[in-house]
């Protein structure tokens, strides 16, 4: 073990192992967390971080290994027991109930039988004392992701835990909200609480964490003091080898290139009680450029994607134009035939049918395009050519798989995403709209996908990327617009964009005057 033998360990993990089928998601993990420290758990997507914390919180049971709490061996068989010990958890994908109020949500994890009104009062007081104001009576479904995270944190704090586990807490926050969270965490540390901080964001780990444990492919590959490391050295530990940096060749002659995707005054009423309305969105993407759309989750990105793709049609045919033609009343199939391609955020169940083979999933978005090469006259599917096209994409995108034509659900997130992006790139679309291209994807696959998107743009296509990952947008985009509460700011050229400026827009600040780009558009 590395340092800190002088400080008493609150939690000690030895040889913890969890096996799913043939895959060792966690392989003999050792981990020590001292009292009063912020301990980072670093690792790529799929490195085993979530599996490890689920075992610590009792929602998964390990195959082998030991856990010591305050020096005593414990078996954490249920979340209830974890709570009793003093372990609290803030989930990455929140474990909240949308149809219930904040106070009811909190009451559900407290198990103390006191009336809801008393819990609400306690929650309100605690939330204000930590500077995370909260209205206990509000329905969770009506709240933003930032507010939902507050409920999770307050709910966790009300259990007066000694150890708080936060799973990727900043992935849903603006940079400014993240700063606020860091203040809270530092205050908790000062109160003597320990924090296990899970992230793949190196800068914030360097900023707030005292120690770090790095995971790769389910194994601990190192312990370190992140303050003494550089972001590059941490990344090397995490990924194992150098990830090829994404190269963004300068875009030439964009100003005079034709706009291939134009959105004029796009407006949409909310379709469900908790949906975000879109308000008068304007944007144009020219041949050769990548435009990024930043924004905190749940600010209308999903609704926007559905409208642009044609999964939902528009009243005004001119509100979406593809290659100079009105497409607002055209279905998604029609828009594909006009030269557009789409990659949705959710891979399983939206971009791909989980229980269908890759070749069948190829047909999903390409049954109407490509002339008659996949579906012949009379509606008969040409299985042979579908299969060989799927194999072509698998080879081009380096999709790793265990069978010649496996079901989509059998692939890892990164490999499936490579297939889905590759399926669209294979058509050489003139307009490409991608929502969260590398969400939950490992660094190697992410770099591959990003590079492919840039190259598509430079070969003369218009590429629109919606993402919640600012690092990604800064790597990819020629200009970044921000979506907040169903409204889209004008794009900022990448040269003028900074994290802070984009962050303010994500938080809903007024766009200001820097947006001269629209006038030239």
């Amino acid at each position: 073990m590395s340092a800190n033998h002088d400080r008493a360990n609150l939690l000690e993990v030895r040889g913890l192992t969890k096996i799913f089928g043939t895959l060792a998601a966690c392989n003999h993990i050792d981990l020590n967390i001292a009292k009063g420290e912020i301990h980072a758990l670093l690792g790529e997507n799929g490195a085993g971080k979530s599996t490890l914390v689920k075992m610590l919180f009792g929602s998964l049971e390990p195959n082998s290994g030991e856990i010591f709490w305050n020096g005593q061996a414990v078996r954490i068989t249920s979340p209830g027991l974890a709570k009793k010990l003093g372990i609290g958890m803030v989930f990455q994908h929140f474990s909240l109930f949308e149809a219930l109020t904040a106070a009811e949500n909190i009451a559900l994890s407290l198990n103390d039988g006191s009336p809801i009104s008393a819990i609400a009062a306690k929650a309100r007081a605690l939330s204000y004392s930590y500077g995370l104001p909260l209205d206990p009576e509000s329905l969770v479904g009506d709240l933003s992701v930032g507010e939902r995270q507050r409920i999770e944190i307050i709910r966790c704090l009300l259990q007066t835990p000694q150890l708080i586990i936060l799973d990727e807490p900043t992935s849903v926050l603006t940079p400014q909200e993240a700063d606020k969270l860091f203040e809270t965490l530092e205050r908790l540390r000062a109160e003597g609480k320990s924090i296990l901080y899970i992230s793949h964001r190196l800068e914030e780990v360097k900023r707030i964490c005292d120690r770090a444990t790095v995971l790769r492919h389910g194994k601990v590959v190192g312990h370190c003091n992140p303050r003494q490391e550089t972001a590059a050295s941490l990344a090397r530990m995490m990924v194992g080898n150098e990830v090829k940096a994404v190269v963004r060749a300068p875009a030439k002659g964009i100003e005079t290139a034709p706009a291939l995707l134009e959105i004029h005054g796009l407006t949409r009423k909310p379709a469900t009680p908790f949906a975000i309305p879109l308000k008068n969105i304007n944007l144009s993407v020219r041949a050769g450029e990548v435009i990024g759309i930043a924004g905190v989750a749940g600010n209308g990105q999903g609704e926007f994607f559905e409208s642009v793709s044609g999964e939902v049609l528009q009243q005004d045919p001119g509100s979406v134009r593809i290659r100079g033609k009105d497409a607002g009343g055209v279905s998604i199939t029609g828009r594909r035939l006009m030269g557009a391609a789409f990659v949705p955020e959710e891979r399983l169940g939206h971009g791909a049918a989980p229980r269908m083979k890759l070749s069948e999933n190829l047909l999903l978005s390409r049954h109407a395009t490509d002339g008659k090469s996949f579906v012949g006259s009379g509606g008969m599917v040409r299985n042979g050519s579908v299969y060989s096209a799927a194999q072509r994409i698998i080879a081009a995108m380096d999709v790793r798989k265990s069978a010649p034509d496996p079901e989509a659900a059998a692939l890892s997130g990164g490999n499936l995403q490579k297939f889905i992006v590759g399926r669209e790139l294979d058509r050489k679309p003139s307009v490409m709209v991608v929502n969260q291209p590398t969400w939950g994807v490992d660094a190697g696959a992410a770099a591959h996908i990003r590079q492919a998107l840039i190259e598509l743009a430079r070969s003369g296509s218009a590429v629109l990327v919606i993402s919640q990952d600012l690092d990604e947008l800064f790597e990819l985009s020629d200009a970044i617009a921000v979506m907040h509460n169903g409204e889209l700011s004008a794009p900022l050229p990448i040269a003028e964009a900074t994290f802070e400026r984009i962050g303010l827009l994500m938080g809903g600040a007024e766009p200001g005057h820097a947006e001269h780009r629209m006038e030239t558009a």
Binding site: T77, I332, H350, H367
Partner: protein
């Protein structure tokens, strides 16, 4: 206390896809043996009467085909619905309406004869079934009304409507007051396939043709792909550009038309007139047939024959052993239960966790020193 735990398989098991109906059938046999024993009948004797004797002669095989034809026709249509995750459970009503529509010509225009009569009747039967199925489809797409409840309610309405017809306006004036229509003329009766060997009629051929056609559609055509995508992941289906509303209409109209065809075939072939009751619950039994056939049209042909046998067996045990013919329904219900349970094995491995497993509610071992 024992506990079942399901462990998801990485891929669906090909072995259990094939085996599961057979395991289910075997389990049904075991349960059936217990049931017969409880009823005080030797299971072996009962099985002989139930499953063997009814198909030991050629004419009996014809009877089997007569019973199997409507089951297969209806179940083939329903399988498409269920694959699309659309729940038409009102096939019984669509069957009845098919019978009524198809009977318009022989009942109201008995003097109209000739080779055109039968095709027109069959067509009308399909139209009747499809139109009746269009009601829940319309309500589902227009108002998102639950199709399970509406299609089922329409069964009761259809039964009452038929009852009124044969007791009221369509009653045979020379029928001595019996609630039935006139006997159909010769050109309105579905011909028998091999009149010398038995009573089986063209309905069975329709069933086989429908099964093969739908099998081709589901396995080789884009339409079948559309059905499977929308059924398994509707969101991905919308992304593919397949419309759910269109699919609701397609599946309801298809299954309704096939149920209607089954209805008029039954009325015109097996009965020869309309009566207050024209179906011993074919529309509901077909649901079992569809699942027993694993929603595969070719599997459904086999399943239809098995379920037809349960009907014949039920009649046989009633006459030979004095057991209620309701025993057929019990067999059918058990079979469906076991089929559904066994299908779990395709996607999951089952682990039994007994007393020995310590993780069950284990008390915190806080006191235990390390």
């Amino acid at each position: 206390m024992m506990r079942l735990e399901l462990v998801k398989r990485p891929q669906r098991s090909a072995l259990f896809s094939v085996l599961s109906p057979f395991i289910a059938f075997a389990l049904t046999m075991i349960a059936g043996a217990i049931m017969f024993a409880l009823l005080g009948v030797s299971p072996l004797n009962a099985f002989n009467v139930y499953f063997v004797q009814p198909i030991s002669e050629v004419w009996q095989l014809h009877e089997l085909a007569i019973k199997a034809a409507p089951l297969i026709l209806i179940a083939v249509g329903l399988s498409v619905c269920y694959k699309a995750n659309i729940w038409n459970i009102g096939a019984e009503g669509q069957f009845i309406l098919g019978g009524i529509f198809g009977s318009i010509i022989p009942v109201l225009f008995p003097e109209f004869e000739g080779p055109l009569v039968l095709p027109l009747m069959l067509l009308l039967g399909m139209v009747g079934g499809a139109l009746y199925a269009a009601i829940p489809a319309l309500l589902k797409t227009r108002f998102s009304t639950n199709e399970i409840l509406t299609s089922l309610m329409l069964v009761y309405v259809a039964q009452l409507f038929l009852d009124w017809l044969v007791r009221g306006p369509w009653r045979d004036p020379q029928g001595h007051g019996f609630p039935q229509t006139i006997q159909f003329g010769d050109s309105a009766v579905l011909p028998e396939l091999m009149p010398d060997a038995g009573r089986a009629n063209w309905g069975f051929v329709f069933a086989l043709v429908a099964a093969v056609t739908v099998w081709l559609m589901m396995s080789r055509m884009l339409k079948g792909f559309e059905v499977r995508v929308l059924g398994s992941s509707p969101r991905a289906g919308r992304f593919a550009g397949f419309g759910l509303s269109k699919m609701v209409f397609f599946t309801f109209l298809l299954s309704g038309a096939l149920a209607g065809l089954a209805g008029i075939s039954e009325v015109s072939g097996a009965i020869g007139q309309l009566q207050p009751v024209i179906s011993p619950g074919y529309g509901f039994t077909a649901i079992i047939v569809a699942f027993l056939g694993r929603l595969n049209p070719l599997g459904i042909v086999a399943a239809g024959l098995v379920l037809a046998l349960t009907y014949l067996g039920g009649e046989a045990v009633q006459s030979a052993l004095g057991i209620s013919d309701k025993v057929a329904r019990v067999f059918q219900g058990m079979l469906l239960f076991f089929v559904l349970g066994c299908d779990t094995l395709i996607h999951y491995r089952i682990r039994l966790i007994g007393f020995a497993a310590p993780q069950l509610e284990a008390a915190p071992k806080l006191e235990e020193a390390r």
